[in-house]
Structure formats: structure tokens, C-alpha cells
Amino acid sequence: MDWGSEFFQRDRTIHPPALTPEYKTSVLRSPRQPLLSLQNSLSEVTGPVFGHNELGSLDNDLILNYAKDGEPIGERIIVHGRVKDGTGRPVPDTLIEFWQANAGGRYRHKNDRYIAPIDPNFGGCGRTISNENGEYWFRTIKPGPYPFRNFVNSWRPAHIHFSVFGTGFAQRLITQMYFEGDPLLAKDVMFTMIPDDAAARRLIASIDFDATVPLDTLAYRFDIVLRGRRSTRFENKLQGN
């Protein structure tokens, strides 16, 4: 693998545009000038490298990593999948971070004022690093839906936030994972602002019955695709060296 080759141009038609008036906060926070297209240099194809030894042993177990006097309330689930790039190759050794509300839809955050209670045994964040095959997994509690101030009656479907690095800083991505069969998805501005239906569906994790732990924990599968990179066979090399 040549970690120095350029990424394919990002297909912005599958991402939400910057300005989405139905999501009101985007109106004052979206650039109005066109983005300046930049061919990749070393600054874009490189990115931070994280070691497996930098994480704690419970970092990928949200059921236990903030447990104080018992385990958190809610549906026990495993979330697992593979990080790949646009050519289908696995992305190994990449940092994946995730955060979420508790089973009642409340975040452990200074600024969250929702009436649902904090769970004393649930922090709501974790992280892991993909293995040599790009695979990752973690254990958590299924988050609950919650209201947010957009329209008077706006609700977020249950979701888990994901942050992924890849091998170059131009692959950096933050997204949200949703759950198969959630009736709130069809009304959710975050989900419906994605202009491409097939792309939007890639954010819905499937229940993965074969990965469940019988009598213990349900499982969902969520694969993540980062931008692909060129093969260098017939191309100009990126660098002079």
C-alpha cells in the first residue's frame, strides 16, 4: 500500500450541502464562497497516527467505562463493522471515536437541558482502533431519541456519533449511525438533508443477528467507507522524492 498517493476527489453530491435552511443553525455557519479545489500535497495525504497502546482497556466498552455502582440502564448492544476506503481496501489501525445519549435520550454534557435523567453509570463516549483488517467493535447501550430546538416539535432518531481519521487528514470524517427500522428517520432534518438516498441509507446500521451474544447482547453492523486513493501505476508521483 502506498500511503502517499492522492485521494479521489470527494464526491460532494452525496454529502449534505453546507447551507440547509431546514436545519436553522446551518444558515449562519455555512460558507458562502465556493470551496477552493486543491490537488493533494503531503499536507493532505498525511495525517495523525495513533497507537493501540494509547487507549485504555475499557475505552471500547461503554457499559463498563463509566460504571460507578452498577451498569447503565438500557438495551445492551454491540456495534461492529469494517472501515474501508472507496476502493474496498480495509483501513487498518485508524482511530474511531463515538459518543451518544443514554437510553433516555440525555447526554452527559453541561449544555444538555433535556428533562430525561442522566444515568449515573453511563458516560456516553468511547474509542477504539481498527485492527489489521479494518474491523472495529464496541459495546454500549442503545441511545434513546430526544427533542431538539429546530422546529417546535423536532426529534432526533436514536443515533451514535462517529469520528474517523483514515490515513490522511483529507479523509477526516464525522458522521452519525442510525438504527434499522427507526420511524423518526423520515422526519429527521439531519438524515433527510443528505441529497442522495443510497448514501443516506449507508448511515443505517443493520441488526446483525449472527453477531449477537445469545441471552445477553444484540448486535448491529455499521461499515464505514472513507475516500479512496489512487493507484500510482501510471501516474505522476505526488512528491519529487
Binding site: D2, F7, Q9, D11, I14, H15, P16, T20, Y23, V27, L28, R29, S30, P31, R32, L35, L36, S37, L38, Q39, S41, L42, S43, E44, V45, P48, V49, L55, G56, Y66, G86, E97, F98, W99, Y107, R108, H109, N111, D112, G123, C125, R127, H161, S163, F169, L173, I174, M190, M193, A199, A200, R202, L203, V225, L226, N236, L238, Q239, G240, N241
Partner: protein
């Protein structure tokens, strides 16, 4: 019918939301969970180079500072080499410097800051001149649907900036100023002020990388 291409579509971006701190900088959200946190100090006692501080605000279209933004930076070391296997420049690799950090803007003031070293110049694309010292920025927040990429250059590198192959792409050229952080001496501390404007007359140049 022709054969179908088997490329995979990228996972679409979604906003980091108002509670991004929980996942990425939980101490700012108000709790302590990990043995080791990632933060805004990129340097250790043995890191080589000139120590600098970077600080600024991210302003919205109403000129109000964002108080819930998350900013990440990625940069070369003082010699101009990235700590990454794809960087094969013949320059010293500083094992005490990853070159990456993240900061949340302050909930009260909106100020963000980093402690790092000033990067060296990095080779440009083949056939192009070297790039002036710069730091790559990535900004996410509630209301930002896909992370914004930009670069910070240094006000005391006028000659290198003038020859930089990326800055020279920016038209009209007055907009290049939006990418240049202003150097201030504060006692013994060197501070670069880098304000980011999401909209308006001073809108920062953002890149599609």
C-alpha cells in the same frame, strides 16, 4: 450493458452537533473518563523547535463567536516533516511530536488555543515550489454539515508566503490575507492570532481537499 465499477461510495458526513465534546474532549463536556485525553498541547518537554501559541475565534455570519466549535490541527515538525509514513523527505523526524491536536472553543468566550511549535517548510507537489510553513485546520460544530478545511500561514514569512503554491491559487488575492495568522509578542510568548470567519466580507478561504 457494460461492466459495473466496484468503487464504494463514501459514508456521508453529518454534523458533529452541540455535544461533540463528549466524544472528543470529554473534560470540556464536564466529566473525566479516559486515562489519556487528546488535547490542544502538541508539544512535550523534548519536542524540538520554536514554541508558539495559536489562538483565535471562529465567527459566524452574524459576527458572533462560535462557543461550541471543535478545531483540529495537523502540521509538520520544526524541520518541515510530517510524522507519517508517506513523508519521505530527508529531514529529521521528531519522535516527540505527533503534529496533531484538537481544541474546543471556550463555552463563555469562544476562544480556542493551541500550544505547538512553528512548522518548517514542506515540499510541494512535484513540479511545484516548496510550501511555506503552514498548519492544516479542520473545523466542525453544530450547524456545520461537513467539516471545513483551511490552512493557517504565518505573518512573519512574507517571502515564503509570496511563493507558496497554494496561497497563489487564491483569487482575488486580497482573500489570501484570510489565511495569514498575525504574530504577536506577549512577554516571552509568541502568539499567532488566527480568526476564522465562516461568512461575510472577511470569509476565510476554505478548501475542497
Amino acid at each position: 450493458m457494460v461492466q459495473s465499477l466496484d468503487y464504494l461510495g463514501e459514508t456521508p458526513s453529518q454534523t458533529a452537533g452541540p455535544y461533540v465534546h463528549i466524544g472528543l474532549i470529554p473534560k470540556q463536556a464536564g466529566f473525566d473518563i479516559f486515562e489519556r485525553d487528546f488535547g490542544n498541547v502538541l508539544i512535550g518537554p523534548k519536542t524540538g523547535g520554536t514554541r508558539i501559541k495559536i489562538e483565535g475565534h471562529v465567527f459566524d455570519g452574524a459576527a458572533a463567536p462560535l462557543k461550541d466549535a471543535l478545531i483540529e490541527i495537523w502540521q509538520a515538525n520544526a524541520a518541515g516533516r510530517y510524522n507519517h509514513p508517506a513523508d519521505r523527505q530527508e529531514k529529521v523526524l521528531d519522535t516527540e511530536f505527533r503534529g496533531w491536536g484538537r481544541a474546543g472553543s471556550d463555552f463563555e468566550t469562544g476562544l480556542y488555543s493551541f500550544e505547538t511549535v512553528k512548522p518548517g517548510s514542506v515540499i510541494g507537489r512535484r513540479g511545484h515550489r516548496p510550501m511555506a510553513p503552514h498548519i492544516n485546520f479542520w473545523i466542525v460544530a453544530r450547524g456545520i454539515n461537513i467539516g471545513l478545511n483551511t490552512r493557517m500561514y504565518f505573518s512573519d514569512e512574507a517571502a515564503a508566503n509570496g511563493a507558496d503554491p497554494v496561497l497563489n491559487l487564491v483569487e482575488p488575492d486580497v482573500r489570501r490575507q484570510t489565511l495569514i495568522a498575525q504574530r504577536q509578542q506577549r512577554g516571552t510568548e509568541v502568539v499567532y492570532r488566527f480568526d476564522i470567519y465562516l461568512q461575510g466580507d472577511r470569509e476565510t478561504v476554505f478548501f475542497d481537499v
